[in-house]
């Protein structure tokens, strides 16, 4: 039963993500599933509703390549660098196609995933006080506490069709271990109908690596586990490789111009078969700074 979970990333994306799906690639700065994002682009998935607290490079790529018709998010930028230009171009000038947006705050997105993971239809929070966001988002409403009469914000639970995360380790039964900044990795998988987990390493038994209260996702809640070493680059995987800050900076120039962006994507993503190919391709241009060398040969 458990061993059927393992597949290549190609197969997992093919089988589990369909045109028109709502898809959440999560990872809060740490463990961003970049390799899975590339594969979604290679397979030309279309009309996706992309969900993510912090759309950054991975969504800039998908949006710029025309894969998304809608974006649900709370902060869209290139952390420490500036704007993400494909995201801006889509919102400001509808290129390459219009992108509908649904915008929340971080606290709210996290609460919405929690509600989704908890089988609740909505999340309650103290939020958006005085903010203009509720004026532009009909999914932000307000209710009264039945005990105190206080006014609280509420929003619908997030239950993506597919959750995609990257993690450090999985074992042969598909149990997944996440360490360090864990973000909303657990919540998004539990909230989603299907899930893909890419991992740095497959180990024999997760119990040899996990402490009693470690963040572990049992294999039976995960749809597919794919072994993709380096798959979070240019984000990082604690204990494996560091954040590739130079790559984030370089992205600014790559994505600023439509043609430069398209040419770069054609060459390094569409023109490669998988993430290892991508790594070799960009490494040849000196663009990968933090991945162990064996991924780039």
């Amino acid at each position: 039963m458990a061993t059927q979970k393992f597949s290549t990333l190609q197969e997992a994306v093919q089988t589990l993500i369909h045109d028109g799906d709502s898809v959440a690639l999560e990872g809060f700065t740490h463990l961003i599933p970049s390799a899975a994002g590339h594969e979604i682009i290679r397979q030309k998935k279309r009309d996706l509703t992309l969900i993510r607290m912090t759309p950054d490079l991975v969504y800039d790529m998908i949006i710029g390549m025309g894969g998304a018709s809608r974006l649900v998010f709370s902060w869209g930028g290139n952390p420490g660098v500036g704007s993400i230009h494909r995201f801006r171009d889509a919102i400001e000038r509808a290129w390459p196609q219009p992108l509908a947006i649904e915008e929340h705050s971080h606290a709210d997105m996290a609460a919405r995933y929690q509600a989704g993971a908890s089988g609740l239809p909505f999340a309650v929070m103290r939020g958006y006080v005085g903010s203009d966001l509720p004026r532009h988002n009909p999914n932000i409403r307000f209710i009264e506490c039945p005990f105190t009469g206080e006014r609280l914000a509420c929003t619908p639970a997030l239950n993506p069709d597919v959750a995609v995360i990257h993690a450090q380790k999985a074992d042969r039964k598909g149990n997944v271990l996440i360490t360090g900044i864990v973000g909303v990795q657990k919540e998004v998988v539990l909230a989603a109908r299907r899930s893909i987990v890419t991992v740095e390493e497959i180990v024999d038994d997760i119990h040899d690596h996990a402490q009693m209260n470690s963040v572990v996702l049992p294999g039976w809640v995960v749809s597919a586990v794919c072994h993709v070493p380096g798959g979070a680059h240019p984000s990082y995987a604690h204990g494996y490789y560091k954040r590739d800050n130079a790559f984030y900076k370089a992205w600014d120039a790559i994505a600023r111009d439509r043609d430069t962006f398209l040419a770069w994507m054609e060459k390094h993503v569409m023109g490669t078969a998988d993430f290892a190919g991508f790594c070799r391709s960009v490494a040849a241009e000196g663009l990968i700074g933090t991945l162990p060398e064996e991924f780039c040969r």
């Binding site: 952390p79 609460a111 929690q114 103290r126 532009h136 206080e150 900044i181 864990v182 604690h238 900076k249």
Partner: protein, 259 residues
């Protein structure tokens, strides 16, 4: 000793933090200032980042809000839902320390959009954690460079509440906490008038002229009759900040963090 406007701003922001305070830290300038405080006069300040790190003690400045450095030396690393629920919304934060793209005369913050929301002139990154930091922390400090483009009379979009329309508008809104009690810029420090809640220039950095500050403000800036001049950065403060930036630069392979 000479210093840059950014150093001036960072050091003045750092000085505000007291030892033992619990500070929810935004990335960039707030993070640089908070860590400078920790490395100088406030070793027991508790730094919380929205990535889930509580009591972070980064040796170098993080470039992103979730750098491994933040987790490595933290007292606890919890999930993002937990950090917002139990720690921020739970009322445990003394100071929310924010950056901003724009603020207005009542210290409201815009990080969402310039122009109409539906057809933006410039699309900014969005809210992130700020709306709830601004309404949940006991007080809020904002730090940003002062220009007519960033200090505007009226925002196109209020992302995070300051004093809204001024007066008791914030109180009536249901926001908890005192709101923005200080805006620290490269030119001086602005604080809200106790009644109208309009930002008033209450301190000016050494060598800066009042007219210069007024010229960098998009509304007719009121100046406190008790205007003070901030103390120039000390050698120790500058040395510590420059060390921090140099370490950061080395660690990030040429990328300076926190700025």
């Amino acid at each position: 000793m000479s210093y840059t406007p950014t150093e001036l701003m960072t050091i003045n922001a750092a000085r505000k933090l007291s030892d033992g305070q619990v500070c929810f830290v935004g990335i960039g300038l707030p993070s640089a200032a908070a860590n400078l405080a920790r490395l100088t006069h406030a070793p027991e300040v508790v730094l919380i980042y929205e990535s889930g790190t509580i009591g972070a003690r980064p040796d170098v400045l993080p470039l992103s809000i979730g750098d491994g450095e933040l987790a490595e030396f933290a007292d606890a690393v919890v999930s993002v839902p937990e950090i917002f629920r139990y720690w921020l919304q739970g009322g445990r934060v003394d100071v929310g320390f924010l950056g901003a793209a724009q603020i207005d005369r009542f210290a409201n913050i815009n990080t969402t959009v310039i122009g109409p929301y539906g057809s933006p002139k410039t699309r900014l990154p969005g809210a992130g954690g700020a709306p709830e930091i601004a309404s949940s922390a006991r007080e809020v400090w904002i730090t940003l460079r002062q220009t007519r483009r960033s200090f505007v009379d009226r925002l196109d979009f209020i992302t995070s509440a300051g004093f809204l329309d001024g007066g008791d508008a914030r109180k009536r809104s249901g926001a908890r906490g005192a709101g923005p009690t200080a805006v620290i810029t490269d030119l001086g420090v602005l604080t809200p008038d106790p009644i109208t809640r309009e930002l008033v220039l209450t301190a000016i950095h050494p060598g800066i002229e009042v007219e210069q500050v007024k010229a960098a403000t998009g509304w007719d800036l009121a100046v406190s009759p008790a205007l003070t001049v901030t103390v120039a950065p000390t050698e120790a403060e500058l040395a510590c900040l420059r060390d921090l930036h140099a370490r950061t630069l080395r660690a990030h392979g040429g990328e300076a963090g926190g700025d």
